[in-house]
């Protein structure tokens, strides 16, 4: 009688890429709906464009490489990449720029390095940075949330703007767009205004900009869902947000009139989205337990540094890419001790 003998692993868990990516997408839904609520149809249109471009690009590269495209497309990783990219884009970005960023993320950043599991950089953030660096004008043309502007663009208007690249009749970009809270804070601080004075404006809510601050909450909800389903673990989000809070709290304590309070940093820009969805990318992030704490903490620190003294208002994408570069080194120095190995065994 013979028993089938296979090699390990003998017990296979229920997680697989499709399931993980599906869960990430599910967790992104509340935050995405919140963005649609505050910024209108542009968010969803961007999403459609980016996902389509990413899937087409992925299929094209797989067929160029002579491989079966179906399993790769079904694992949903391209959709997650495109979705994250779309959330980072201004709602009325011209369509071809969205397509370009999405294709760059998939073709150059992901597939040229070998496809899923081989990319040293987070594809969505690399695509975003490509666009931000290449098209500074359109990429900083954010809309005010409709609770602030009191007007909402119709679906037809949004489509018109995205596909023609021009504002609708009777409107100009100046009346449509407005600075993001981080940008606003930054430019007013550079004019030597006090924070208590800046916050008089109706733009501001309890923590960050009105409207904006709520989006962070909805992404937080999705992030907690991912933590609960064990798709991500707590180390990177906790250390990233923790270090951001700590550093900004320190500066705020020194001078609350020139440094925004810590909750502002947390609920502005992409801090929460980045902490739960972007920095935790299992491929490009650090993988050792201690390494993840260092990785997250350094991202938080860089976010604060670049936001405060850097050339761009938000910094999550740059910080994540910087730390992607450092991740292999961090992993090298934080390898957990193998059970039974002595502490300073350099073998």
């Amino acid at each position: 009688m013979e028993f089938a003998t296979g090699s390990s692993p003998h017990k296979i868990g229920p997680q697989n890429v499709t399931r993980v990516m599906g869960m990430v997408l599910l967790a992104l839904v509340p935050g995405t709906l919140a963005m649609w609520w505050y910024f209108g149809w542009g968010v969803l249109i961007n999403l459609m464009i980016a996902v389509t471009a990413a899937v087409v690009a992925e299929a094209a590269v797989m067929s160029l490489r002579g491989r079966d495209a179906r399993p790769v497309l079904l694992d949903l990783s391209a959709v997650v990449t495109a979705w994250l990219l779309a959330l980072a884009l201004p709602p009325l970005l011209p369509w071809w720029q969205t397509v370009l960023g999405s294709m760059f993320a998939i073709v150059v950043v992901k597939q040229l390095f070998g496809g899923i599991g081989y990319n040293p950089f987070n594809p969505a953030m690399a695509g975003y940075v490509l666009l931000l660096v290449s098209f500074p004008v359109t990429m900083t043309r954010w809309l005010p949330p409709d609770v602030v502007s009191g007007q909402a663009l119709s679906l037809a208007d949004s489509l018109h703007i995205i596909f023609s690249g021009t504002p609708p009749l009777g409107q100009t970009w100046d009346t449509l767009s407005s600075a993001t809270p981080l940008d606003q804070m930054r430019s007013e601080l550079s004019e030597n205004r006090m924070i208590s004075e800046i916050r008089q404006s109706p733009l501001w809510g309890d923590f960050g900009g009105r409207g904006w601050e709520w989006i962070g909450n909805w992404f937080l909800l999705g992030g907690l869902f991912l933590l609960w389903r064990r798709v991500i673990n707590w180390r990177i989000p906790a250390s990233m947000l923790g270090s951001l809070l700590l550093v900004s709290g320190l500066f705020w304590a020194i001078d609350p009139e020139t440094h925004p309070f810590p909750a502002f940093h947390l609920f502005s820009g992409a801090a929460i989205l980045g902490a739960f969805f972007i920095a935790t990318d299992p491929v490009s992030a650090s993988t050792t337990p201690k390494g993840q704490l260092i990785y997250g903490a350094l991202i938080g620190l860089f976010v604060f540094i670049i936001r405060t003294w850097g050339g761009y208002p938000d910094a999550v994408a740059f910080s994540v890419l910087l730390l992607n570069m450092a991740a292999p080194t961090i992993d090298y120095y934080t390898q957990p001790r193998v059970f039974g190995q002595r502490k300073h065994d350099d073998a």
Binding site: G13, N16, V20, I116, L130, F135, I232, N233, P282
Partner: protein, 230 residues
Amino acid sequence: MDDGYRRIWLDGLWSNNQALVALLGLCPLLAVSNTLINGLGLGLATTLVLTLSNVSVSLIRNWVRPEIRLPVFVLIIASFVTTVELVMNAYFHGLYKVLGIFIPLIVTNCAIIGRAEAFASRNPIPRALHDGLAIGIGFTLALVVLGGGRELIGQGTLFDGAHLMFGEVARDWRWSVGEAYPGLLIAILPPGAFIGLGLMIALKNIIDKRLTGAKPVPTDQPEQAVPTSA
């Protein structure tokens, strides 16, 4: 031309191209290749220095003791670079100002000392001369292609600034795809140089593979890797 020279030229232009195969001289290659003319200017200056230094090194190869050969090579290269810098300052002042620090930095271009060490110090003068020209032109071609590609994608023009090099008649050479082209700024910025060079090397490898007739064998990719919780 006998077979030895054919080999030298083939190596310099293609199979041992310093930019695409040896990956030497990347500092000027990446930094200056933002327009076609810049690339051409620096490439020609490098070719000039390379040829002169190759010939000089070959000329003295039997008298220089191996222990002190490197300082001697560096001195020779530095003298030629200084000469080229002064000449460019005098006759191509506009280009000189655009290329800036990268003209004196030709002295640190490892391709030059590499050829002095690996080729010129072991070969007679005519062969060293041919090698200097071949390697230099190969490097220039890589610079021109990379510079032209980056300029075209980055700002939608070609031959921008040609008058810096060829005088006022060349001002009309500037060719543009149209004023409406928005320009992909990243191609002109440093990341564009790295991505562009990477693509050029990939293209060369593809062509080489086609030439040798070997079909690329797809390596087996493991089934969907399972990322456990991050």
